[in-house]
């Protein structure tokens, strides 16, 4: 199996100087930019904490995916990771599951899957809590209103 970084790696941002070096390298090569340079910059962006950087990173990764078929399998993982960081769990799951389909033994991808599941579940719980809270509140208010109406009648 090719070496892939674990999701934890994506959570450790580069400092701005390092990112600038990658950007400079990427910009220097202009239109004829090589895959590796593009990936380096994209990966640096995905690792970043700012959302715009992450967006750009995912965009570059999808470009690599489109242009170099021999890198697609790897890119699947990075696309999943990038979308996971962006909170686009639907996309992340789509890419990651596709990869797991091809490589069921991929530890990194398996790790990412459980991370996505956890995140979705967590936020889902929160969502349910909010929704149920709202519903309870609505019920209480509705009840009070009904009771008031009943009294009036």
């Amino acid at each position: 199996m090719t070496q892939l970084p674990y999701a934890i790696d994506a959570e450790t941002p580069l400092n701005s100087a390092e990112l600038n070096v990658l950007r400079a390298q990427y910009e220097k090569e202009g239109d004829m930019v090589g895959v590796q340079t593009k990936f380096n910059y994209a990966w640096g962006l995905v690792k970043s904490n700012t959302r715009t950087d992450q967006h750009l990173g995912v965009m570059l990764l999808s470009e690599i995916f489109r242009t170099s078929p021999e890198r697609r399998r790897e890119c699947l993982y990075y696309l999943a990771l990038g979308n996971y960081k962006l909170g686009n769990f639907g996309e992340a799951r789509k890419y990651n599951d596709l990869l797991l389909d091809k490589e069921p033994a991929n530890l990194q991808a398996a790790n990412l899957r459980s991370l996505i599941d956890d995140k979705v579940a967590q936020e889902g719980l929160m969502g349910v809590a909010i929704v149920s809270g709202v519903a309870v509140a609505a019920g209480v208010i509705g009840g009070i209103l009904l009771r008031n109406l009943g009294r009036k009648r």
Partner: protein, 654 residues
């Protein structure tokens, strides 16, 4: 998203998963675990608690039932979180970036096996420390550490040393691996660049073809324009004449309509009979200005040293050739006493110029104006725009006409062009020299000629008369008288001198005239005084060719050298030599090309300071052929034409 869910889950139930409120996945997994556990329990093997399968199965069951999995099973019907859903539907920026990073499904289907020698992440790891300063420091530190380690005495017994060595070893192995990755990266990058270059070369070829087509169309259209302009002029002339006739004879107007063009024709035929010079300068000037509005640029995009065309122009050695512009008209003369005009664009002979009674030794083409100097001691002037030639003939009559006309194959016999196509070209003849003309040059209305009678003559083309005769021997005698025999006429020591032309080369610019002679001297004359005002001494053999621009004068000689003189100081600026005598030389803004007794043209690139060879000798040497020696060479704007001893003319870019 829902549409692609079939691919996402390999499970059988996956397609239903979105619809089911409570996921069956967890339940099913749990059920699987229970059945396996049960089968193990019921199996004949004793002591289930110690059985590894039982252990693992039970632990998995437990894990499944732990909290996150409970949640998972509860909420996995949600493929994503509410926030994500809200974002993806409402925020324009999010939608935009999603659109940009969208990967079409058919690409997702088409994922090849991974056979790269290194992963992108490995590449990242390998390059990243290299890019940042920190990494460089780290590398240095490592190497220094290694040195330090070698310096410190190692106690073999201490565990500390072992630890350190192990650490060192692992870091070195890591570095080694990284180096391997970097090596792979570099080679794959080179491959990538090769691919890109191949693509670009393909694109360049396509565009070059397009350019060639455009140029062809442009040339044809230009020819049409010229033709229409000519007809317009004629029509206007006729109309004017008709008007004037009508004014003179108002009563007979009706009768004269039929004979209207006869006065025009008459005047034209009279004009054609006129050998006088007075009418010539004004007449050829008109088409001269119309010609070549467009600048051919195609040859500039070829690789230097590419052959554009090769054709057998003559059966004998080429003695002189010149052309007006890239892809324009070329005139060549050979020992077989013929002078031929070629269309370089189509590569075919337009016609033969007849009149000289001996072979032509010197000629020059400027716009449509041609001057030829012959061994019969006369100079003839021609107007090439009067040739009856239709460049479109190559288009329309390709089937029947072209096979016989074009010389695509250099070994083809030269085919005679239609007789009389050049009948209107001769303008007039200059006769005054007593011996063969060996060099001539003209600019504007001044023509200078050098002859074996040891004189130079200056001609006024406006009047068609010789206006000055310069005696070289007299000038050299004058010079020797003044400066005590230092620069007298002296026979050079070379044995080839007998065959060398007395006047090897000439060039005129307004009142300045440069001439190179068989004594190896280059004399600069002032035509206003008729005196030599400077002599350039240096060549040890007869000067055969010469050209100057505003700064430099370049000369070539049978002493095998090319010398570049500084015109302001009169001193040598640069010089270089070849294996054999230089017979012909010309320069343009960038290169000096010379024919030096080889089957290739010697090119000196002034900008890069580089010498290289261009010509048939390079490619054909590999095929075992030996092309003839290049005798004459001309260049204009990187478009080079060379004439060889076997009568073949080659056209090259350089």
């Amino acid at each position: 998203m829902a549409s692609s869910s079939q691919n996402d889950y390999p499970d059988v139930l996956s397609s239903n998963e979105d619809d089911s409120v409570i996921s069956t996945r967890g339940l099913e997994a749990f059920g699987r675990k229970v059945t396996t556990t049960a089968s193990h329990l019921m199996g004949p093997l004793a002591d289930p608690s110690s059985h590894p399968h039982y252990q693992s199965a039970m632990s998995e069951v437990q894990k499944q039932l732990r909290r996150p999995n409970l949640q998972r099973s509860m909420f996995s019907m949600a493929r994503t979180t509410p926030t994500d859903l809200v974002r993806s539907k409402l925020s324009t920026r999010e939608i935009q970036s999603r659109a940009l990073s969208y990967v079409p499904d058919d690409m997702l289907q088409n994922i090849p096996e991974n056979d790269n020698s290194y992963s992108l992440f490995q590449g990242f790891q390998a390059t990243f420390p290299e890019l940042t300063d920190e990494g460089k420091k780290h590398r240095r530190r490592v190497s220094r550490g290694r040195k330090l380690l070698e310096e410190t005495p190692i106690q073999p017994g201490s565990p500390h040393a072992v630890q350190k060595l192990k650490k060192e070893k692992s870091s070195m192995i890591h570095q080694f691996e990284m180096l391997g990755v970097r090596k792979n990266m570099a080679s794959s990058e080179i491959r990538e660049i090769d691919n890109k270059m191949a693509n670009l070369a393909g694109m360049r070829k396509i565009i070059l073809d397009r350019l060639a087509n455009l140029e062809q169309e442009e040339a044809l259209l230009e020819h049409d324009i010229i033709e229409v302009e000519g007809r317009l002029e004629d029509a206007q002339e006729l109309a004017e004449e008709a008007e004037s006739i009508a004014m003179q004879t108002p009563t007979k107007s009706e009768h004269d309509v039929g004979g209207e063009d006869s006065p025009g024709f008459m005047s034209q035929s009279i004009y054609e009979k006129l050998p006088s010079a007075s009418s010539t300068p004004s007449k050829p000037k008109k088409p001269r200005n119309i010609r070549r509005k467009s600048m051919p640029i195609l040859h500039e995009h070829f690789q230097p040293g590419t052959m554009i065309r090769s054709m057998r122009a003559h059966q004998d050695s080429i003695t002189a050739l010149d052309f007006d512009a890239p892809f324009g008209l070329m005139v060549s003369a050979a020992m077989d006493d013929s002078v031929r005009v070629f269309d370089l664009n189509a590569g075919r002979c337009i016609g033969m110029l007849e009149g000289h009674t001996a072979s032509v030794r010197a000629l020059q083409v400027e716009d449509n104006f041609l001057a030829t100097g012959s061994m019969d001691a006369t100079i003839r002037l021609w107007d090439l725009s009067k040739a009856h030639y239709d460049p479109q003939g190559s288009q329309f009559g390709r089937d029947d006409e072209d096979d016989g006309m074009a010389f695509e194959n250099p070994d083809d016999q030269p085919v005679d062009p239609p007789a009389g196509s050049m009948a209107d070209c001769p303008l007039f003849t200059l006769q005054a020299h007593l011996d063969e003309i060996t060099a001539l040059h003209f600019r504007d209305n001044v023509l200078v000629s050098g002859s074996a009678d040891k004189t130079l003559r200056q001609w006024d083309l406006e009047k068609g008369r010789c206006v000055q005769t310069l005696d070289v021997m007299w000038a050299s005698a004058q010079a020797s008288a003044m400066s005590a025999g230092d620069s007298t006429w002296r026979q050079t020591t070379r044995s080839t001198d007998a065959s060398a032309d007395f006047v090897g080369a000439l060039q005129v610019f307004e009142s300045a005239l440069a001439c190179g002679t068989a004594d190896g001297m280059v004399r600069l004359w002032d035509l206003r005084s008729g005196q030599v005002h400077r002599s350039l001494v240096g060549h040890t053999g007869p000067v055969t060719c010469l050209q100057f621009d505003d700064v430099h004068l370049v000369t070539g000689s049978l002493d095998r050298s090319i010398r570049i003189w500084d015109l302001r100081t009169g001193s040598i600026y640069d010089a270089y030599a070849y294996e054999n005598s230089v017979t012909s030389m010309m320069f343009d803004s960038r290169r000096i090309v010379s024919a030096a007794g080889e089957d290739v043209v010697k090119v000196y690139d002034k900008v890069e300071g580089r010498h290289w060879d261009c010509g048939a000798g390079i490619a054909e040497a590999e095929e075992g052929k030996t092309p003839a020696i290049v005798e004459r060479v001309r260049i204009r704007d990187g478009y080079m034409v060379e004439g060889r001893r076997d009568g073949v003319v080659g056209v090259w870019t350089c």
